[in-house]
């Protein structure tokens, strides 16, 4: 009984440790949620080859448009998403072409 309890505790601790390690080692989140007319993660840093996905959680349509025109979504209505795979390192500024005060940035690092 006592042993079992200890083992359970050990498992829980181990699980917690593992979670922390995954969080630290994983690439930065590559899903950007749009809500309340903002890109929830205004700056995202990812290694080359990462696919970033934007999801419109707002009740109005938005777009995701690179200022250098390297990518451009069609209009995203509620719950629609757009993905783009970054194959070259660099800094990509983007905005919503419908509501241009909404801006964000993807920083792509050479791997």
């Amino acid at each position: 009984m006592f042993t079992v309890l200890i083992r359970r505790t050990s498992v829980m601790v181990a699980a917690t440790v593992v979670t922390v390690i995954v969080g630290a080692a994983a690439p930065a989140p590559n899903v950007v949620t749009i809500g309340n007319f903002t890109f929830a993660a205004p700056v995202v840093t990812v290694p080359v080859g990462t696919t970033v996905t934007w999801v419109n959680g707002d009740d109005v349509p938005h777009t995701v448009v690179a200022t250098d025109k390297s990518f451009r979504s069609k209009v995203l209505d509620t719950d629609e998403r757009f993905s783009f795979t970054f194959t070259r390192a660099g800094t990509y500024d983007y905005f919503c072409s419908i509501h241009p005060h909404m801006t964000g940035k993807v920083v792509v690092k050479a791997s």
Binding site: N36, F37, T38, D58, D59, V60, P61, T63, T67, K74, V75, D77, T78, D93, Y94, F95, S97, I98, H99, P100, H101, T103
Partner: protein, 309 residues
């Protein structure tokens, strides 16, 4: 008192915001009155001709707080049809559709057609969402327009200027007219007498209502400089789904409400999305606003009355 020495500077706006504004021009004065009381305008002697402004019909919008923007637009047009005095034409100040879909444009056209009046359009940003970034709007409404859809025309001595400020918007910016359009505007206004009443209509406000929400036009000041010499300039727009006024010298700015849904007052809440009002309150939220404005230092007189009343 404003009626005698300052008659030309008198501007009264009684906007029935829920479904449309009836604008009346007389003696260089442009004013708006409630549709329901259009007839009363005659008794005030300001009715050489009238026109209507509708805005932000957002055909295709079907979310809280309005499950059917087509239905409320139909209600607006039914009110227009029932007017005892027929307006000369209708100005639609943009966001005809929600997503620039052909079906949405088709439905908007069909509903508006029932008014039996000529309609002049300017695009809103929601009308630029087709694959061609506005090509669909231009194909439909821009046959007589220049550039991205701007144009002007004259009616009974009043010069009307349609401006487009939703095209090629820049990251971090607000609405934009662009150099080409400003050059055209300069040429369009050149040579016109300063006593010509000017009505400018466009989608996004030409004054900065609230920059954090993009409620303004970056290069509006350049347009205003060109309009400065005219004795009577009225700027009509939509975009922010509420009635606000501002007067600057001889220029009166008026934002109109939507026929689809209200938006929050500037800065009220986290974002300028649709203002959620209970279903039973939608028409009340789009209700009647009566504004009397006497230029020359007197305060605005604003009276709101519910459509439900």
């Amino acid at each position: 008192m404003g009626d005698q020495p300052h008659r030309r500077r008198f501007l009264e706006c009684m906007g029935w915001a829920g479904t449309g504004l009836l604008w009346t021009a007389g003696g260089g004065v442009v004013s708006s009155i409630t549709l329901d009381t259009a007839q009363a305008a005659a008794s005030r002697g300001i009715q050489p001709f009238s026109f209507l402004q509708v805005s932000d019909s957002h055909i295709g919008f079907a979310k809280d707080p309005n499950p059917d923007a087509r239905a409320t637009f139909r209600e607006a047009v039914a009110k227009i049809r029932a007017l005892p005095v027929k307006p000369a034409f209708i100005l639609h100040t943009g966001d005809i559709t929600q997503l620039s879909k052909d079906q949405e444009f088709d439905d908007a056209d069909q509903i508006l057609k029932e008014a039996g009046l000529t309609v002049f359009h300017v695009p809103g940003e929601h009308d630029m969402l087709d694959e061609g970034n506005g090509a669909a709007f231009l194909a439909r409404y821009g046959k007589d327009a220049l550039g991205d859809g701007w144009y002007s025309f004259d009616h009974s001595g009043v010069h009307f200027v349609a401006l487009v400020n939703v095209k090629a918007l820049k990251a971090g910016g607000m609405g934009s007219l662009g150099a080409a359009q400003l050059t055209w505007l300069q040429n369009d206004l050149a040579g016109r007498s300063a006593s010509t009443p000017i009505v400018v209509f466009t989608h996004i406000p030409l004054w900065t209502v609230y920059a954090d929400w993009g409620w303004g036009t970056d290069d509006a000041a350049q347009a205003m400089t060109l309009l400065k010499r005219f004795g009577s300039v009225t700027v009509l727009n939509g975009h922010i789904h509420q009635v606000l006024q501002k007067v600057e010298g001889n220029v009166a700015f008026h934002t109109a409400r939507s026929t689809a849904f209200p938006q929050p007052a500037p800065g009220q809440g986290p974002a300028p999305g649709p203002l959620k009002v209970p279903a039973g309150d939608l028409h009340a939220a789009l209700g009647v606003r009566t504004v009397s404005l006497i230029r020359g230092g007197e305060p605005l007189a604003v009276v709101d009355s519910s459509l439900a009343a």
